[in-house]
Symmetry: C2
Subunit: 435 residues, 2 copies
């Protein structure tokens, strides 16, 4: 299993001795855990270092949840939300009769109506809550947990403690103290793995297991990726290739990258990718702005801009070779809808032709093209793909001389909130209300 | 009812005599229907020119659909999809017991598994299909309709004709001929209203009415907007203000606009906005790249880039003054989650504080800020908002000397598809399959 990467430009020409040297240096810094942010390189060996025992514990907890509940509420934001959401959406099937356990997210938005109606909806269900927060102090999920903990305690009394599971840092945070005091089951996010690199830890694994998917296959896929993408091979390692091409395009005046796909179930994989790259690279006035489109629908929307607008974008298409289910076009006698030219074309083939057509048009319109292809969408390939992007992202950020593992900008608005709410609360809110 | 617009810069300073002159010229060209693309200015007077009789006909058809069906399939892409989707999502409530008639979209994506499972799902429902296509020839919805028409004919026999409704151009297109031959009920998209300006026609009105929403209020809101935003007033007309500010920021080196909101139900209003501006402005190597974020979740994702990344973005926040349902924080005795500082703050107030905090932080980080505020989300305010954006978009494109009403770039990939599939189909597909 391997990701294949195509680029519309001449890749070999990008491999200057300067790039060779830089990539070698980054590879060395990563291998020796000595670069900026090296305290957060825990994800690099994670697929190999996670114990079978840990996987078993997650699976057992998932099985217990499935026995006692038909809804799992996952409370989280950022890296504690989007990776799980991405996997569940990617593996889901349209119009399927619902899973034994329905998974509902909360805490990624602050919305009174949503929470109120969620709690009403839960009244007729059996519920477990998994609250996920690395720091244990982020306000948005803390607010959701505040209301949902209250709901669970009112509804289940002492039993609530056995229906609340906390995934948080090993050593610190409000959530950790609360979990210990209340006796909640705890899973650990390793201190050396940052939120947006944590999808392969209990953060993503527990919801995935509860939904009935194979967490061992996910880790297996990541393992094979760890082997492939740790190689120092500028010619053949697609994680390095992707980083080198991105850096070249960024330097050539393309500050916006569009991740496109024809697979609607990859929509939240795109969102996960956006967080990964935006938070890892978008610092010190630098970085590629990551955005996404879903085809065909966005060919009739942003497609016009991509084709003809200001020449600031390049495009990376995430392609899937095989789909598990398809329809094939059969010509009709009367050809009233004039579609007989599609005879014997499957819809997946149509999308592939559509991709070739759009990619060629966009390239001719001045939009450099990258294609990242995986064979199919399943647990193993997702694990592989996540790891690929994390490795490519680390290289990309280091190539910009950026620490890929901090997020200083996210703190700014948090500090303002704190400042605003430290004012005598009532008078401030009054002001808001009378506006 | 009016939209209020705030800008972090000094708006008066932007009103040079050149801008005054340009806006006057555009206003004159729009009023006299004499600018580039003037053949497609039908949307300008539409809220006033649509007949009560037409609204009554749409409502009657909707009532009939509600009697005979519990699922309405809306087949469309681009402007024939995203406006309806935006309205239905904006007005929907979380976890609500489903509407009498469920509305399902198709044709915006080409996906065999989706269509197959949709048809299986329909087996236990009573179904009406509304196929929407201005040109009547766009391939993606045509493919979906091909399979769904076949499904309807197999299932309902001759009755299928009374369960298929076509919304298309008055005078031309394959779909129109088919509808006439088969005797389908037809609604007209006026020839002088382009797809992305068609949300207030039968395109958006029929699905909205079927879902039980008030189409008269939608048109009323658009009417008041038509009155407000047709005024030649650079100081007070927010549609002109928005266009002038956007042009200034574009000229000042900000080629990317992020439309942010805290209201998750406006997610597809953001998508509608992206199509409107991307297709109207993104031409001739010009235009602002429109993209969107949803807060709080994206404050823990793209937020880092917005705060600290390359200084190419400005931000427009879509704010709602009042929500219909909310929760208010009540302090706890033990304060175990350390959130008592939120005592008596409602979650909507929290979001507003969060907005102030993020907007201030982003501004200080070098991201110019625009705020567009509407009072609440309902049919009337949505109609008003859609019209506001359409008017602002026309001014914006004209300020760039761009025809706001064509989309030449969308044709490029279509021509390639046609070219590829004109090759002896079988051999070409064989090549694809063996890759």
């Amino acid at each position: 299993m391997k990701i294949s990467l195509q680029y519309s430009g001449n890749y070999s020409k990008l491999l200057s001795s300067e790039i060779h040297h830089k990539i070698q240096t980054i590879h060395h810094l990563m291998a020796t855990r000595s670069g900026t942010g090296a305290d957060y390189l825990g994800w690099v060996d994670w697929p190999h270092s996670i114990h079978l025992e840990s996987l078993r514990e997650i699976q057992e907890t998932a099985d217990k949840i499935c026995e006692q509940s038909n809804v799992l509420i996952v409370i989280g934001i950022g890296g504690s939300y989007i990776g799980s959401k991405a996997m569940l959406e990617a593996l889901s099937t349209n119009f399927e009769s619902s899973h034994p356990v329905e998974i509902i997210f909360a805490g990624h938005l602050v919305n009174g109506s949503y929470l109120k109606r969620l709690m009403h909806y839960l009244d007729s269900k059996e519920v477990t809550v998994n609250v996920v927060s690395k720091s244990g102090t982020t306000t948005e999920p803390a607010i959701a947990f505040h209301f949902l903990r209250n709901y669970m305690e009112n509804r289940y009394g002492e039993e609530a403690s056995s229906r609340i599971i906390v995934t948080t840092d090993e050593n610190e945070g409000t959530l950790r103290s609360l979990a210990i005091e209340k006796g909640y089951k705890r899973f650990v996010i390793p201190h050396n793995i940052g939120g947006r690199y944590s999808v392969l830890t209990a953060v993503g694994l527990l919801p995935l297991a509860v939904a009935g998917y194979d967490i061992h296959q996910l880790i297996n896929g990541a393992k094979s990726a760890a082997e492939e993408y740790s190689k120092l091979d500028l010619e053949k390692n697609p994680a390095i290739q992707y980083a080198v091409i991105r850096k070249h395009l960024y330097d050539s005046g393309y500050p916006v990258e569009i991740l496109s796909t024809f697979e609607s179930q990859l929509k939240y994989v795109q969102e996960w990718w956006k967080q990964l790259f935006a938070e890892s690279e978008g610092k010190a006035g630098k970085g590629i702005f990551p955005t996404s489109v879903l085809y065909s629908t966005d060919l009739h929307s942003l497609g016009q801009y991509i084709q003809d607008g200001q020449r600031i974008v390049f495009e990376t298409c995430l392609l899937i070779e095989k789909v598990q289910e398809d329809l094939t076009f059969v010509e009709t006698k009367q050809n009233m809808d004039q579609l007989n030219y599609l005879n014997e074309v499957s819809l997946h083939e149509f999308n592939h032709i559509c991709y070739k057509a759009a990619s060629l048009a966009h390239l001719q319109g001045g939009v450099p093209q990258i294609a990242i292809t995986i064979e199919q969408i399943d647990e193993e390939h997702l694990g592989h793909l996540f790891y690929f992007f994390m490795m490519a992202c680390a290289y990309s950020a280091y190539l910009l001389d950026i620490n890929p593992f901090d997020q200083p900008g996210v703190e700014e608005y948090k500090m303002n909130i704190f400042k605003f709410l430290k004012k005598p609360a009532y008078s401030y809110n009054r002001q808001l209300q009378t506006k």
